[in-house]
């Protein structure tokens, strides 16, 4: 006899769950959108609880969720989804290229217009800007880094937390993190390529709840010898 592999412990348990019966769909079965949202993990808590109540007793829907989750982890499908999502990010980047100059022009107009800080509504709803409000300054990585796996910036007095954003060259957000520290480690799931340029900025939130942002810093990854 060849290939005599004993069943794994969980195989034995699986065999008890398997009845060989063909499950029958019911009117309560989940629609494609709910199955997709469950597999994606994007369903809000209340809807998820409701959906799981059905999935717990419906082998058909359970199979569908498991099947879609497995498909989403399949290399070729993941690759195609990344291409589609990447294209959307590029479109956003192109949009940013158009919107940013417009926003800069609008800001310039606002600066040139006479100020009305003493307007009763403004003075009631918003406190005057402090002259000494400062923003965090990125320390590194800058320019080119051998292993840009840690982002460091200067502290801001009374800052409650910092928010860091890492962008690709097309303006897509690759990673965002919030911390009370003045450094953040890049998670291993975010892969940076030596062939690409990246940008990052950090914002500090002060006691009044306002955010003050740093400049946008560009950097690249050193090519290994």
């Amino acid at each position: 006899m060849s290939d005599p592999q004993p069943p794994q412990p969980l195989d034995r348990l699986r065999s008890h769950f398997h009845t060989g019966e063909t499950p029958v769909p019911s009117p309560d079965c989940l629609d494609a959108d709910t199955v997709a949202a469950l597999a994606d993990g994007t369903l809000d808590a209340a809807r998820r609880a409701h959906a799981l109540g059905h999935v717990a007793t419906c082998a058909l829907c359970r199979r569908a969720v498991a099947s879609v989750a497995e498909a989403l982890a399949d290399g070729p499908i993941t690759h195609e989804v990344e291409i589609i999502e990447g294209r959307r990010r590029r479109l956003r980047g192109q949009l940013l290229k158009v919107v940013t100059p417009l926003a800069a022009a609008a800001a310039l107009v606002l600066l040139l217009l006479p100020r009305h800080d003493n307007h009763p509504l403004v003075s009631t709803l918003r406190g005057p800007l402090k002259a000494d409000t400062d923003a965090p300054a990125p320390i590194g990585p800058r320019a080119t880094a051998a292993r840009p796996d840690r982002f460091v910036w200067t502290a801001v007095a009374h800052a409650q937390r910092y928010r860091l954003r890492l962008y690709d060259a097309e303006g897509g957000v690759l990673w965002t993190d919030e911390t009370s520290d003045t450094a953040a480690a890049l998670p291993k799931s975010v892969k940076l390529s030596p062939r690409s340029r990246y940008f990052w900025k950090v914002e500090a939130q002060t006691e009044s709840g306002r955010w003050s942002g740093s400049e946008l810093v560009e950097f690249g990854v050193e090519t290994s010898p």
Binding site: M1, L10, T19, A37, A39, D40, T42, L52, V81, I84
Partner: protein, 255 residues
Amino acid sequence: MDDWVAELQRGRFDAAWDLFLDRYRRLIFAAIRHYAQDYDDVMDVFARVCEALRADESRRLRSWVEQPEHRARFSTWLVTVVRNLTVDWFRHRDGRQRLSTVAAELPPLRRRIFELLFLNKRSHVESYEQLKSSDGLDLTFGQFLSEVSATYRVVSGGRRGRILRELGGPPPPVADVEDESATVSERREELEAALGILSPDERVAVELYVVEEMPADAVAKVVGWPNAKAVYNHVYRALAAMRTRLEQADLRADL
């Protein structure tokens, strides 16, 4: 807004379809190939998917676009729809006959085991007795179970195994004679009673992790737990609770 969505909202269905297909053709093919192996099957399923998505002025696509809020990414929704259409296509085309196609490539003994267990739904003991008496095979019950195990692994692997599972394919083999002491329905009733003590999310996690063999991090996503470790903890606590419930039953050793 995506260009195909804009065209769809303008009522220009042909233009919307062309743009949609241009963008998602490769993803649709990738999703079909996840389940289908044969080139002709892939092309036939693709035609069926296109037909279904384009029917009634792209009713399916419009229903997604017109939702006030989207709970899932469009690409995941599309993969889900393609999966449903693919499974339906296989089920309608050949259903159980498909199982025979799978068995055709197996060595003679495993093909026979496949027929007895998976097509004729015989128990392990019945199948073993049949092989010994009618087929005249000389093998111990342990050897037989090893062959059952190997057969299961062959037919449930790869893309062919995926569509087989979707069509309610073979159950995993059991390892000893004791498992035959209770009928399938008795076993399931006992398990149902034990599963009944779990919360819905624990129950779903147990079934997805144990039965569907989903990775723990994917299970965590579905049930809304923070990570894979939470899944391990919950599932093994749930199995312990079930074990207590089943302490008088034959299943306890497996849990």
